[in-house]
Amino acid sequence: MGSVRTAGLSVRLALIIVAASALLIPAFAGPFWVFVAIEVVVFALYAVTFNLLFGFGGMLPFGHAAFFGLGAYAVAVLVKKAAWHPLLALGAAPFACAVAAAFVAVFCVRLTGIYLGMLSFAFQMLLYTVIFKWYSLTGGDDGLSGLAVPGLLGRPEALYYLSLALVAVSLAFLWRLVHSPFGKGLQAAKSNPHKSAAIGINVALHRGIAFVIAGAFAGLAGALFALANQSVFPGWLNWTASAVPIVMTVLGGVHSFIGPVIGSAVYVVLQTVLTGYTEYWALILGALVIGIVMLMPEGIMGYFRG
């Protein structure tokens, strides 16, 4: 028990250091790096929602970007076409994504492995096509822009603190969820669906609820990203976009709650720095992913936990 307590202490210390540096970023960094910091924070939440399904639920949805993109477009359409206040639209987006995720979940949760992955991918492509083609509502290929949050809250620092606060609360909730009876049931269903059913777990329902929660919070991440960019683009829910949370999760560590957060920071910062030097940044990222998978299969977090 002693080692557990020391581990708890060092975790708490690390959390304090991370929180302090996160709070101080706008004081030392210019608007460009503040924007990068928003991206890290937002994608951290997005990647954690993916890993709720993958690392804890044993589902590999290849189309998770659908909910990130839908959250972003929900904000954009509500602001541009229904004249909602951006912050009100931000609040509504996760609910829209929860409804969409519930619909997709009905079809997906009884499937496993590649079949679940492909069906979620199919729903994503469906949504992508609708958004790409429905020019009058979504702006098609051009996306929608001019989503500035009015007033002081529209400043990059303010958007950063808003994102940081919402993501921190969301991550705290998801951390609680993973360690709750519900979360343990989800992990049991991942490990052994038959045994789970034999001890009274309604595996399909359990997975479905996780799917809805992951979809809602991925939508919140997308909505925040839309406000930070003041615009949305259909590429955010194209099929390549679904690889991003997967790569972040693999980088940071699948079997760790915080792994995808680390993965997001590494991915976003690396991409930002590398694009300054070469347009072939993806080549270096690819090599890094190969290295991680070969040398640290449990990701960065897994490596440091021994």
Binding site: R176, H179, P181, F182, H194, A197, A198, I199
Partner: protein, 249 residues
């Protein structure tokens, strides 16, 4: 029979051309310790899966305490006081030993959908009691994947007892154990069953184990029950001897 807790009526299940269950009707009395024996491929596991909701019968019905439970999904049966283990040991290897028991207890207590409280401290004492009951000593915080085969079997039993079942199906509870461990293991199950007035139906290959503890024995061959009765009677049955010794129908 005076008070059957459980009965099947005319269970049929075909897999292609194979009749895995062929008109299986049997009943089990309350607090009975019943063995189901039969050669490999006789249909024992299929029968268990038909009864416990993992397979849907083509025809026939299953009654538990007078209620028709045919086709009821397994997770509901657990909540109704029926429990089972699997032939191939089935534990949650990504959870700790005590978490394996805790999750079953949380399920039994209807707490599976709580999302805002930690699971670690819940029902811990009850879980420890169950581990002690099946004789699983050692650190309960260890990953279940570190357990030896025999200890996994014990853990599976503790998990299966978490819903305080009235009816328990054990599919080869001593599979993979050394010969000298088997008798000890099944006697422990019998002791627990007697203490709790628990009805147990188990499959078993080791005849020494079966004859040592079973109240009654049902003999399954090619999806049919070909003999049934107390051990002494079944041992004498010519049909049973033919199936086991000669392999002729």
């Amino acid at each position: 029979m005076a008070d059957p807790i459980f009965r099947t009526r005319g269970l049929h299940k075909r897999f292609g051309g194979l009749a895995a269950a062929n008109d299986v009707s049997f009943e089990v009395e309350r607090a009975e310790f019943r063995a189901i024996i039969g050669p490999n491929g006789a249909g024992k596991s299929t029968l268990f899966n038909l009864i416990t909701g993992f397979l849907r019968p083509d025809a026939g019905s299953v009654l538990f305490e007078g209620r028709d439970i045919t086709g009821t999904p397994p997770y509901r049966l657990f909540r109704q006081g029926l429990s089972r283990t699997f032939q191939i040991t089935n534990i949650f290897t990504n959870l700790s030993v005590i978490e394996n028991v805790q999750i079953a207890l949380l399920s039994h207590h209807g707490r599976l959908y709580r999302v805002l409280q930690g699971a670690a401290r819940q029902l811990r004492a009850e879980a420890e009691d169950l581990l002690a009951l099946v004789g699983l000593a050692g650190n309960p915080s260890l990953h279940a994947s570190t357990l030896s085969h025999g200890d996994r079997k014990k853990l599976e039993l503790a998990v299966a007892l978490a819903n305080q079942p009235r009816l328990l199906f054990l599919d080869e509870p001593t599979a993979g154990m050394a010969a000298n461990e088997r008798l000890e293991a099944i006697r422990m199950v019998r002791r627990i069953a007697d203490e709790r007035e628990l009805t147990v139906v188990f499959t078993e290959h080791d005849m020494q184990v079966v004859f040592a503890v079973a109240d009654r024995i049902s003999v399954l061959h090619q999806g049919r029950i070909i003999a049934e009765g107390p051990p002494a009677e079944v041992r004498q049955s010519e049909d049973v001897q033919r199936v086991y010794l000669g392999g002729v129908v």
